[in-house]
Amino acid sequence: MTRKKILGSHVKRLLSGVSMHGRRHLTEVETDLVQTELLLEEAIDKLTASFMAVHSAVGARQEAIDRLLDGGTPTPEDRELLASMSGEVGLHVNTAITSMQFQDMTAQLIERTLRRVSGLRDFLGTLSEHGAEIAPETDSEEIVERLGKVSMALAIQSLELRSMLRRSVNQKHLESGDVELF
């Protein structure tokens, strides 16, 4: 292979490697951000519904409560409504508690995205450092050697980044998770 072709082959390998690793990481960033958005949207919808339901439950009892406060005698319907209030509000509070756990999940997704973005910045920094060491007068053999080293360094960095970023949040909905006793 001629010197030109060897150089060309290394440049191609480097550009292809940068593109592949970069795209892979950015696809994951996109996936995590979409998942975060889904969880946030669902959390807001469910929390809004829960708060409205609690408001409604209390509102439905207000006449009965007012009657008691005025010293009146509660009707059978009043008794039934007031007796069931705790249970009904409790159900809505439980739903809200399940929904509020979006914060834990989205925090993990955001942290993962930040670490990946930081890793990508380091990745580009490596390119820059190696590039800075190539003087205009550097001969092509040395350039080939450097390009080989850069490609290797980037591949290792990309692997390390991927191994650091296990997917630990797969939830796309805020339904309560499985329970298993061993």
Partner: protein
């Protein structure tokens, strides 16, 4: 006398919700912010159940469980994982480490209470 649960999670909002749910059911709850804090608190006082997250700084859930199991008084204490992790691989690691159960987040408070009651009464 009310039973005591050690709730270990690096998310303060999650700890609040676990504590709120379990206290409403009559349990005492001690909170820990990570595995190391959980270990320190488990050494300071006897608890009836440990409920721990997996992914935490300083010491993760699996390491906490393995270490607790070596402590006198914790060989048989029920330990449940409460985590976003749901893979069979992680559950098997949890079982091997000494966990007695695996709850996937988000938890439903009523279901959490039912599981805790089943495990420690």
């Amino acid at each position: 006398m009310a039973k005591t649960i050690l709730a270990v999670d690096d998310s303060s909002s999650l700890r609040q919700m676990v504590a709120f749910s379990l206290k409403a059911a009559g349990y005492n709850v001690v909170e820990a912010v990570d595995g190391q804090d959980g270990l320190d608190k488990a050494k300071q006082q006897t608890v009836d159940l440990v409920l721990t997250d997996q992914n935490m700084p300083k010491m993760d859930g699996l390491q906490l469980i393995k270490t607790l199991r070596t402590l006198p008084g914790y060989a048989k204490t029920p330990i449940l994982m409460l985590t976003t992790e749901s893979s069979d691989e992680m559950k098997n690691k949890g079982r091997a480490a000494g966990a007695n159960g695996w709850l996937v987040k988000p938890f439903d408070p009523q279901r959490l209470i039912e599981v805790v009651k089943k495990v420690i009464g």
